[in-house]
């Protein structure tokens, strides 16, 4: 069984701010001491640029940096460290696939399919490349509970479909997509699938090989790791089909003023000095998370979500956005007559951090005909008692806003 009370102790922010109730984990997670320490250790003990130095600390930095690649591969079930490209985040990973993988093959009349619940990061890059190439961005519709329809998907695929990009878990309302089924359907027509794992990787047991995902992307900062580091996993055949889009040092084979040739993947996608400390910190985050059983994490977060949901029903005017079922540790809701930002401000004034707004999913909000929602998102250090405290404050909101 997961022991959130003990887990909390690993996160110095809760020691320094004992009153902080952090329910904005879908935006970014807090960092355990071991991650902070790994960064400090790097800068204190073996800070050096990588891949080219022959002295001790450079060798150590290179070794640690490259070792994290294997760790990441292992963590998500990738066949090899060679499938792992370091990027600056989910957004950068998706843009890389859009520009390099898709950009090279997309033709006028081709299609790219996304869902109606995608984060802007998994929407605009496809929209822009489609626009540039005269291709069409198609949107898998969802129902009001957030379900996509596999039958509709099946019939909408054709020879012109060049990629499906789908989030594993909706960052807005936590809906879990049936990515295994989507991948199966897509692969029957040889269509590659990109899975946006930003919201799933910290809680789910990911096995990209077993899922047969073509691309899987996520950010370190939502996984207890540092900002400025992300991952692109891609199948070897896809990486080999991709040309670099950013050029500079540490990715070249031969350079002359006339022409240049590049190293093979993943190296060729990591031009210049990368976020070395970020990589080291991500390694520590993965080590940290790996001590826990993902099944237990999932079970605990399900319990926490259900508890919060049952208590939220007590609030006058509450309604859930999305679905009670098929959802991960995120709850999106509205309270009749109270704007999400006012809810978030009132909770914030009591040291309870939730998020209000469109959650970078404006088209989804338009579909739901909502200007925005309030969102609580949980992580392994959250407690039922924190939920209780939030409910207590929310019960006063009506009084504050409309008079007792």
């Amino acid at each position: 069984m997961l022991e959130p009370d003990n887990i909390r102790k690993d996160f110095p922010v809760f020691r320094e701010h004992p009153d902080l109730i952090y329910f904005d984990n879908a935006a970014t997670t807090q960092k355990p001491q071991v991650v902070i320490d790994a960064i400090t250790e790097f800068y204190t003990h073996f800070n050096a640029n990588i891949h080219r130095g022959v002295y001790d600390i450079a060798a150590k930095a290179t070794e640690r940096y490259e070792a994290v690649r294997g760790k990441v591969a292992n963590f998500i079930g990738a066949p090899s460290a060679k499938n792992i490209v370091y990027t600056s985040g989910t957004t950068a990973s998706i843009n890389l696939v859009a520009q390099s993988f898709l950009g090279a093959q997309l033709k006028a009349g081709d299609e790219v399919i996304i869902s109606q619940m995608e984060h802007h990061a998994n929407l605009i890059p496809w929209q822009m490349i489609c626009k540039a190439k005269g291709a069409t961005l198609k949107v898998m519709p969802i129902d009001r509970e957030g379900a996509i329809d596999l039958g509709t998907l099946r019939v909408s695929l054709s020879k012109r479909t060049k990629l499906i990009a789908l989030t594993h878990v909706s960052n807005t309302f936590g809906r879990i997509n049936p990515i295994r089924e989507v991948i199966k359907i897509a692969h029957q027509k040889n269509i590659p699938v990109l899975v946006d794992g930003a919201q799933s990787v910290a809680h789910f047991d990911i096995d990209v090989s077993d899922l047969d995902a073509d691309f899987f992307v996520f950010s370190g900062h939502k996984l207890f790791g540092p900002t400025g580091i992300g991952i692109l996993y891609a199948k070897e055949e896809h990486l080999n089909a991709m040309q670099p889009i950013v050029f500079g040092g540490d990715m070249i084979k031969n350079v002359s003023f006339e022409k240049s040739s590049f190293l093979s993947a993943p190296q060729c996608f990591e031009a210049g000095t990368t976020n070395i400390a970020g990589v080291i910190g991500l390694g520590a985050a993965i080590d940290y998370l790996s001590q826990y059983d993902k099944k237990e994490i999932k079970a605990y977060l399900k319990e926490l979500r259900e508890y919060a949901l049952s208590r939220l029903q007590e609030i006058k005017g509450f309604s859930l956005v999305g679905s009670e079922e098929h959802s991960s540790a995120i709850i999106s809701f509205v309270i009749d007559g109270v704007h999400p930002h006012d809810i978030a401000t009132i909770l914030g004034a009591h040291q309870i951090a939730i998020r209000a707004g469109n959650h970078c999913t404006q088209p989804l909000m338009d579909f739901l005909e909502l200007p925005g929602t309030s969102r609580m998102s949980f992580s392994i250090y959250n407690l039922k008692s924190e939920v209780d405290r939030a409910i207590e404050i929310m019960q006063e909101i009506h009084d504050l806003m409309f008079g007792a």
Partner: protein, 140 residues
């Protein structure tokens, strides 16, 4: 509830949130200004009729939080019927008051100074005012 919260959600704001002044669509207005905050999705239209240097008529419509809605309502209340010169002075006075700089300004402006304690909400207090200000700059 904390004192800062009470200061923010004081009766002036809550009142204007519930019963906003000039809250109706006027698509036929001479000038429509959109005040939109992409970060939170709040969006108001300001409907202006300026006749011979006078802000003869002004209404608004849209959605937003209590702060942004009330601050727009206050804007309508104070600017309607004023000359452009007076409008400019009032806009400047509003910004000064919100920034906590003492100023000889209408009393109900002061309510929004409380937003300063909530940096994430400052924009709500100035959203419509900012857009109106941009418009005034662009025409003079």
């Amino acid at each position: 509830m904390t004192d800062q919260l009470k200061a923010l959600y004081q009766s002036v704001i809550l009142h204007h949130n519930k019963e906003p002044v000039g809250y109706e669509k006027r698509p036929e207005a001479g000038m429509i200004i959109e005040a939109y905050n992409p970060i939170c999705g709040d969006r108001f239209n300001l409907y202006l009729n300026i006749v011979e240097g006078q802000l003869e008529d002004i209404h608004f419509h849209g959605f937003g939080c209590a702060i942004s809605k009330a601050s727009t309502s206050i804007l309508i209340k104070h600017l309607k019927g004023k000359s452009i010169e007076e409008v400019k002075q009032l806009v400047a006075a509003y910004f000064k008051t919100v920034n906590g700089e003492a100023e000889d300004a209408p009393e109900d402006f002061a309510a929004f100074a409380a937003a300063k304690a909530f940096p994430g909400r400052m924009k709500c207090a100035t959203l419509s005012w900012d857009e109106l200000n941009e418009y005034l700059k662009s025409v003079s």
